[in-house]
Structures are given as C-alpha cells and as structure tokens.
C-alpha cells in the first residue's frame, strides 16, 4: 500500500483533531500503517520552544511536513492536524510530499466563537491571547484542498465519509466495496447452500 500524507488545516476548534483521529481509526481498521502528528502534541516535543510568531509557525509546519514526508515515502499514512494558516508553507509541503492530500476543515469564526470549547476565542477577543489565528492573525484559506469539510454543517460521520471516499477514489486506500454477489456468483453460492440444506 502507498504511503501518503493527509493534512488537516483549519482554524482552532474546527474539528481537525477529531476528524484526524476518526480517520486514523478507519485506516488502521483497513490494515494501514498510520501515524498522527497533531500540532498540540508536536509542540510539546518536536517543536518544543517554538512560539507563535509567523516565523515560528512556519518552522513548526515545515518540521511536521518533513516528518510526514519521511513517513509517507516509507509506506506509512501520515496524518497532520495543524492550523497551518499560511498558504505558502502548506504549498511547500505539498511540493515536498509525493502523495499529499489536504483537508480543509471549514468553519465560520462565529460558529467557532460560539463553540469555543477551550475558551480560547473569548480570551483572544479580549486581547488576552495575542497572534490568535482568525482573530488578530490571518488564516489563508486553501484554494485547492482535495477535500473541504464544512464542520459547521456536517456531522463528524459525514465529514469522515467524505474524506475516506476521496482517498478511495484517489486509490490511496483500499475500497471496502458494497457490491453484492454477481449473478453467476450468487448462483454458485445458492447451489452450495442448497447442497448444504440451508435453503
């Protein structure tokens, strides 16, 4: 099976980590080797010490991209979940990584502010947190993401389904298929079951 990188981008609270973990579970179920690089976790080790200036943010995204490339060229599915607000660095990663699939977790700021599970938007709006993406720091929307999920409207299940189906269509993951027996196959099975007395 091919390795590839599935890169989740979107504002804080837009569902990147949740979707990444759900997709991870499904890909594992299908027998794939998977690693998730979640920005929150990466910042405690791989990018420890980096701040939130544009330069540090770019460095963080480049480091995640570097590791994703190493993993995916060795047959592993690397899943990154990072705000990655700047288009230019995301495009650098796209150029670096052979099989790169971007998932844009789209969600309006109003919805995120309402949700505000971690209370970060409230703090940012009060000015207690500086350089907060979407509030006083820009988020550059992708123009060419392979998948766009609108997490303000879609359920987690719907978004996951969309991502998985895209990966199937791109032949990056095996299809599980929903087809029934063909007519000939059904006849063969029917005959066997008749022979066995089940029908």
């Amino acid at each position: 099976m091919k390795g590839f990188t599935l890169w989740f981008t979107g504002l804080s609270g837009s569902g990147k980590t949740t979707l990444a973990r759900e997709v991870e579970a499904i890909l594992l179920e299908r027998g794939m080797k998977v690693e998730v690089l979640d920005a929150d976790i990466v910042r405690t080790n791989l990018s420890k010490g980096l701040g939130f200036s544009k330069e540090d943010r770019d460095t963080n995204i480049r480091r995640i991209g570097f590791v994703c490339n190493l993993l995916s060229r060795n047959g592993v599915v690397a899943i990154a979940a990072a705000i990655s607000p700047y288009k230019a660095v995301r495009e650098e990663n796209r150029r670096l990584i052979k099989n790169y699939v971007e998932v844009y977790c789209k969600c309006p700021l109003e919805t995120l502010t309402e949700r505000d599970v971690k209370g970060l938007y409230a703090k940012a709006l009060k000015g207690e947190i500086k350089n907060f993406t979407g509030v006083d720091d820009p988020y550059e929307e992708p123009d060419n993401a392979e998948v766009v999920v609108d997490t303000s409207k879609e359920s987690i299940e719907e978004s996951v389904k969309k991502i998985i189906r895209t990966l199937e269509l791109m032949k990056l993951i095996p299809e599980t298929g929903e087809s029934e027996y063909s007519e000939d196959e059904e006849d063969e099975v029917k005959q066997r079951l008749k022979d066995l007395g089940y029908i």
């Binding site: 594992l28 794939m32 029934e180 027996y181 007395g197 089940y198």
Partner: protein
C-alpha cells in the same frame, strides 16, 4: 502482549465432545484442563449465518439485520439476498484489533466474503463463490495459500448431498487436512490474534449421523460407517494437537463451535401444512414433490408461506405491505397469535405433539433491522427440519427434500478457553455466544463497546 488463537469447529456438539468422546480427544482434553468450558447457547436460529458473525460482533441477528443465509430485500415475494460480508455493518473482533494496531489471521470464518481489508491476513469462508474471485486479503496470498495447504486449498466439500459416502468422507478429510496445514503455515507469521473455522464437523454430521446414532431411525448396527464421525473427531483432535504444538506456552486458546447437532427425525413440510390448514393456495397443485416457487402461489387466497431449511422462516401476506397482501394490518397480531397456537398444536403422524417452538422476532432480538421473518419456527424444537416443498402428499417426510441429511442443528455448541497461568474459579454451565466478542476484547485490554450485548467471561 499475550496472543490468542481461536479454533472454530463448526457444529462441534457438546454431547459428543464433552460427554461421549472426550477421553478419545487427548488434545482437546488437554486444553480443557484448567480451562473455562461449557455449553454455549447459540443464536436463534442456530445456524452458521448468522451465528459466527454474532459471535464475532456480540450482536444478535436482529441487530445485524440478517436472519439466515437468505433474507428479504423488500416485501416483494421473491426479492431475497444472500447475507455476505458487505451486509455486516457491525464491527468484528478484528476490526477492533486493527484499530488498536494489532494484527489478525482470519481463516474460513463465515461471512467474510468478499474480504475486507484489515491489519493482517484474511481468507474468506465457504460462502466464497469460487477460487477465481478475490477471496483473500491481501489478494496476493492466494498462491501462498495453495502452497501452504500442500495442495489445492478447498473452500468447501463438493457434492455434499450424496449417497457416495466414501467419496464424501475422503473429501472432508482432504479439506480439513489442507485447511489446518494452511492455518499453521500462516500462524508462523507473527499475529496477535488468529482464528480459523473448520467446516468439516458440520459436513460429517449431516452426512453420517445416521450411521452412529442409535436413536436415528435409519441406524443399522454394525454398518461400515459406524465410527466415521468418531474417527473424524479424533482426526480433528490430532490436527488441533499439531496446531497447539506450534504455539508458545503463553498463547491462549479458544476452541468453539457455533451450534451443536442432533438427530433429525424427518422433515415437516411447512407449506403442505399451510395448504391443509387453508393458509396457502397454489394456482395448480403439483402432482409430485416440487420446490415451491413464488409464481406458483395464488396470492389472493394466501395469507402465509414458509421457507425450508434447518428451521423455517414464516412470512405473512399483509395488505398494504406485500404486493397482493390479504391480511389486514390491524389483524396482523391476532392472526399471528392464532397461527402460533395452531403451529404449537402440530403433531406427528401418530398424533403426538411434536413440540414446535415458535418465535416472534421482536421478542427475541434487541431490535429488528431490515426485514425479519414474521415468525421463526423450530419444527419439533429442531428434532425435525423444515421442508419448503409442496406436492409431497404429507406434512411429514422422512427423506429430506434437498437430498440425504441425517442431522439437524442444535441450540448449544461448545466453548473452551484456556489462558495459560489462569485458574478458573468456577465452571460455567452455559455460556452465551454473545459473550465471546467482549471477552476477547477484554483479553486484549480493549474497551468493550456499549452496543455489544454479551458480557466478558474474564
């Protein structure tokens, strides 16, 4: 991480394994020492599909949404489908193991065709149409499979309903030998969980039960196949022994069947009975035994019909539901109760009650997905099977309408679980088929999903 190997013996039955022949099955007996073991209550109905899938998901047939091999796709009269792996929506043990980065070897477990990807290797079951299709995961192990089997890997024995018993016996042995060889070959690779299901015991029960069971009406003392089933059990035991030898001392072992077996007295021609009782009318009465086809039925004069098999699925012709329904919907329940009372009063040819058991699906399942039968009938509590044919001239027949068959399925199978180093405090008298999946998940330290209906045994 400790490993677990499951050896599934389809139809292995407690009265033979535990009560009758245990001393002659030294390898199985060796597993029983210090094991949790007992009878295992199967699904209703106790047949291969849905039983193995229920065992692997801890979901009942209603939750799974299939009630046998063939199921109604719509309320059309002849719109049936075969419940293959694509219809299994519930997660199996190996789905959970894969999610938790553990690998599985799955071989011959029913309802795994077409094969789905997993972390490991999967070889689909006897419901694979033929070996030209993709029936393994990954696809490229097919050649290795034949090599490992040291011959053509056999999906199932051919020509099962035959009077050529020598040929049948031989082919069952060949199938079993090759299956176990292949399983041991793949087992050498490093799996966290490995499971195989061998179908030979089921096949030999149906083919040879009359030759050893003194209670069978066709039993003849001193016949040449008197020991065929016992010898085969001993052979299977030796294959189990060879497999056990290959395991390291810390590997846990489960030996399990999906249901048991019992003598079949004969068959109840359910549609013949429906005709006699005025529930079923044919456009033209066949002069000889004929398989009932839906286009033979005069639907305006028919309120119900039945499917044959080891049990019977009974369907009602309901107004507004079936295309030419006749039972008013508000009379559905009273009709059903009246029919149950009549079925309960069914007798044998001598006027003795045969003790039919009848189930309403919604009373035995947590929920009823897709289209369940209106009633499930165990003729004579499975002492009889159900024949769907018409034109038999009698409700009771003694030559099976689908070919020679001596045994019916029984509600209870076997269960044996040895965990090295673990002493069980007590023996379980009866285990539920639904307890196995949560037990295995607990063994691996995986949280048991709330939608599993069984309870862990450890």
């Amino acid at each position: 991480m400790t490993k677990l190997v499951v050896i599934g013996l389809d139809c292995a039955t407690p009265q033979l394994v535990f009560d009758k022949w245990l001393d002659e099955l030294p390898n199985i007996k060796s597993v029983i020492d210090d094991a949790l073991y007992g009878k295992m209550v199967s699904t209703i109905p106790p047949i291969t599909v849905p039983a193995w899938t229920a065992m692997m998901t801890s979901h009942d047939p209603g939750m799974l949404g299939f009630y046998g091999f063939r199921n109604r796709k719509s309320y059309g009269y002849d719109d049936l489908y075969f419940a293959n792996a694509n219809y299994v929506k519930a997660k199996t043990i190996w789905n959970y193991l894969s999610r938790n980065r553990m690998s599985s070897l799955i071989m011959g477990v029913p309802q795994t065709y077409p094969p789905k990807p997993l972390n490991g290797v999967l070889i689909a079951s006897f419901l694979t149409p033929n070996k030209d299709v993709q029936f393994t995961w990954p696809d490229d192990i097919k050649a290795e499979l034949d090599q490992a089997a040291e011959g053509d890997y056999i999906i199932d024995v051919d020509d099962f309903r035959t009077d050529d018993k020598d040929k049948l016996l031989k082919s069952i042995y060949v199938m079993t030998e090759r299956r176990f060889k292949a399983f041991r070959h793949f087992l050498k690779k490093d799996f966290d969980f490995a499971m195989m299901v061998e179908m030979g015991i089921d096949r030999i029960h149906h083919g040879f039960w009359r030759f050893f069971d003194k209670d069978h009406r066709l039993y003849e003392p001193g016949n040449k196949y008197e020991n065929a089933i016992k010898d085969y059990y001993r052979y299977v035991d030796s294959e189990v022994g060879e497999t056990l030898k290959q395991l390291d001392k810390d590997t846990s072992v489960i030996i399990v069947s999906d249901h048991g077996a019992k003598t079949m007295h004969g068959a109840i021609c359910i549609n013949e009975w429906f005709q006699q009782e005025g529930y079923l009318t044919l456009k033209e009465q066949p002069k000889e035994q004929t398989r009932l086809k839906m286009d033979m039925i005069d639907w305006e004069k028919t309120s119900c019909w039945g499917e044959g098999g080891y049990y019977s699925r009974i369907f009602f012709n309901v107004k507004g539901r079936e295309p030419q329904g006749v039972i008013p919907q508000d009379e559905y329940e009273s009709f059903r109760n009246q029919l149950i009372a009549k079925l309960e009063a069914m007798t044998d040819e001598n006027g003795n009650l045969i003790n039919n058991r009848i189930f309403k699906p919604e009373e035995i399942y947590r929920e009823c997905k897709n289209i369940p039968p209106d009633l499930i009938l165990y003729p004579g509590n499975l002492d009889w099977r159900s024949a769907g044919s018409v034109g038999t001239g009698s409700i009771h027949i003694y030559e099976n309408d689908t070919g020679p068959d001596d045994a019916n399925h029984a509600q209870e199978g076997i269960f044996i679980w040895r965990i090295p180093g673990k002493k069980w405090d007590k023996r379980e008298d009866t285990i539920s088929i639904y307890d196995i999946a949560p037990s295995i998940l607990k063994f691996y330290g995986i949280d048991i999903p709330e939608n599993m209906i069984g309870k862990p045994l450890i």
